[in-house]
Point group: C2
Chain length 450, copies 2
């Protein structure tokens, strides 16, 4: 074979955790990326050099490269409400802090500013795609494109009027128009995102179900987050929320249930049987005292489980490495089984499982030829990170997001040596502090005026 093929970039790290094949840590391998941002090959370095001439070689001698992390559930714009009302019970938190702030501030500009900050934080920490559920998804999508991160945008629906829409049909109509306009944007994808069973009528669910059939879009919904929510739903509908969705024909591989903290054994079996995915948000579930989901039986049943940060108002970091660590620890502690949710399985959850939940696993989620080059490089050279016996478990238990030095989205280096590379990200970073001050001041004056 002639050494003739030119590749856009050759990444030569110390280790690669490709996720596919599962459970593997590659050493002495490189990743070739072509002009379209696609992974061309993952091969031993010598083979790579025989086959390809690289326009650029990136050497990362102390680093492990993983697929970019997939944040399966967040409310990115709420980054402007980071830490608003900590240590409060859920209903007091919502009614005295979050809802008044949102009522006062919610607008396209709020969503744009908050989402820009969220995208910067996520990218810096190795997250290359996030599934977002919030109002004004058009503003969130614009922010994501500006920064250069991949976004899975929820067409948020709620049977309540807000600044983002007057009723369910209005949210849906606006969302569908957005989808029609941006469906071919390479970094964007879409889902229906009805807020939760307790804020969505059967009629609205029926319309969403029909639209899912027409568009092929998946759906994400808050489900079984708290026991109280389940109790109230049972009182109103006579059945538990998951069973209501089953009756409405919505339980299937297109559905991602966010939280799913409280599932009984029958529901675990049903989720597995129908191919429903779960977005596990451990920090949020603990912080709001929603409970501790039984991750071990979920995994044993074979449920596709991804990981999300939730919004910064209930976390308060958009920090997927920290969330991976917490998810691993909690699954072990809650089950009494130290071997539950092993490192490779957690890495799979934070990458490919998230992509699969959103119908994106053909495109992203692992480092294999033909997929988009969404990558994160973690520098493991710090003294505090050594010695290293197992690179995969080091990614879970030792390396924090501060280890991330380089990030690629669709083959484009968006972060190199901890610096943003694109004009859009740099501009957002430059205006970040003043955006934060502006919205914090607005919030104070609006809330004080009440």
């Amino acid at each position: 074979m002639q050494k003739s093929t030119s590749v856009h970039e050759l990444i030569v790290p110390r280790w690669i955790v490709p996720i596919e094949p599962a459970g593997v840590v590659l050493e002495g391998h490189a990743i070739a990326i072509d002009e379209t941002g696609t992974v061309l090959a993952v091969l031993p370095v010598a083979d790579m050099r025989e086959r390809y001439v690289a326009q650029q070689e990136t050497h990362l001698p102390d680093h492990v490269v993983t697929p970019g992390l997939f944040n399966l559930h967040t409310h990115a714009a709420m980054t402007l409400l980071r830490g608003l009302g900590d240590d409060l019970p859920l209903m007091e938190w919502l009614t005295t802090r979050i809802w008044p702030a949102e009522t006062a501030l919610l607008s396209k500009e709020f969503v744009a500013a908050g989402t820009r900050l969220a995208c910067l934080e996520m990218l810096r920490g190795g997250t290359t795609c996030f599934s977002d559920m919030y109002f004004f998804p058009d503003a969130a999508g614009s922010a994501a494109r500006e920064i250069g991160i991949r976004a899975h945008l929820g067409i948020t629906v709620i049977d309540l009027p807000t600044a983002g829409g007057s009723d369910a049909d209005d949210y849906l109509d606006r969302g569908l128009a957005l989808y029609d306009r941006l469906r071919n944007e390479p970094l964007l994808s879409f889902a229906f995102a009805p807020h939760a069973p307790y804020t969505i009528s059967d009629a609205t669910f029926d319309r969403i179900s029909m639209l899912m059939g027409q568009t092929g879009l998946p759906m994400q919904i808050h489900l079984h987050e708290t026991e109280d929510e389940i109790r109230r739903e049972v009182a109103e509908h006579g059945i538990r929320p998951a069973m209501r969705l089953e009756r409405l024909g919505l339980m299937g591989p297109s559905l991602t249930a966010v939280h799913a903290v409280h599932l009984d054994d029958r529901e675990v079996a049903m989720f597995a049987d129908r191919g429903v995915s779960i977005a596990h948000c451990p920090a949020s579930n603990l912080k709001l005292a929603s409970g501790i989901p039984r991750i071990a039986p979920y995994l044993d049943a074979g449920i596709n489980l991804g990981i999300g940060t939730d919004g910064t108002a209930s976390n308060n970091r958009l920090d997927m490495p920290s969330e991976m660590r917490l998810a691993a620890l909690l699954a072990k502690g809650a089950s009494g089984r130290a071997d539950v949710f092993g490192a490779h399985q957690v890495l799979h959850a934070a990458t490919l499982a998230g992509a699969k939940a959103c119908g994106l696993d053909e495109r992203i989620g692992s480092i294999v030829a033909g997929k988009q080059a969404d990558l994160a490089a973690f520098d493991l050279s710090a003294l505090d990170y050594n010695p290293i016996f197992d690179v995969a478990s080091h990614l879970i238990f030792v390396a924090g997001r501060e280890a991330v030095t380089d990030v690629w989205v669709a083959g484009k280096a968006v972060v190199r040596k901890r610096q943003f590379m694109s004009d859009g990200a740099r501009a957002a970073e430059g205006r970040g502090a003043s955006d934060i001050a502006l919205w914090q001041n607005r919030m104070r004056s609006q809330l004080d005026a009440r």
Copy 2:
């Protein structure tokens, strides 16, 4: 009053969380430190300038200063075993990984090298004192003095021969000799550290009890870490381990029970009544699947509860900010009460409660006049840390150890702008990578030889 008194250093941060008085965040205040390393005053900046002339002023305009964090339980030397055997059940972890490695490597040199690395990691992350339980406490003490961190050294006792001693009397005799030699070292203090009830005979406990009376030293012991350990102890002694200690007259304010994952209601009441402290190590308890302690009732009962990282083999970071976050989250999630273990209470646990458990609360643990100036400064200016609504909860839920920029121990700046200041720390940092490589290689060759 004349503006005549000269102070060694004046620290002018944006915020101070002094821990005493409780629940307070000071703004516009400064901390004056005298030549002996003692806090002279905490006052509004203007008052301070009227009273004192500072030899050095340190301005930290985006920072919050807290007491240095107190790591109430670790095995510092095990830093050389970081991440050895992750995702394994406890007994398999101990018998196939940790014990063989320790048997092969345990020596003064191993403890010195491992403890040096641990001290560097802890200091960099805002920890200024640690309670250590390991073999060769003389080597650990030397390492701590070299680096300039405060150390509460356990005189480790176990009814088993190791490289560190032949039997309980030998460990005790060596430990007492060490105590006699170093009892006046300003940064060192001591405790008896019998390993656990299941490795200590009644006769050994009796000797320790007598020695506690003679020396006034406190005691730290692993207690009720797992249900299995309790079951086995009940089978052997007919009573649960805590009750055995009670019968031996050891339950009192000089005792710190490490882990205390499994306490029944009667034991909770007894701990509170006797003034026993608990060293809560949430990451280790989860990672080894020991269980989830019921922190809410412990706090409700008024038990003095500090926080520890445990060793890096079961954590795998000596990271007190991360441990504070996990402790806060877990207490809420496990109790179903989002208001449990609020930010100020967690900060108290990670500082003054640790000091109190070790009998050091007159000297350290809060920023008040007369106490040693052990301090940590967290820079909250990063975009990822903003906006800020509540500085205390930001320290728990947002700021990681990467925010720590400056650290003082006994009034001496040991870290400034993330750089070590002392020759000892710099030397240890310089040799860190080769120390790690040396011991990792020795471990591999020793274990391969088996």
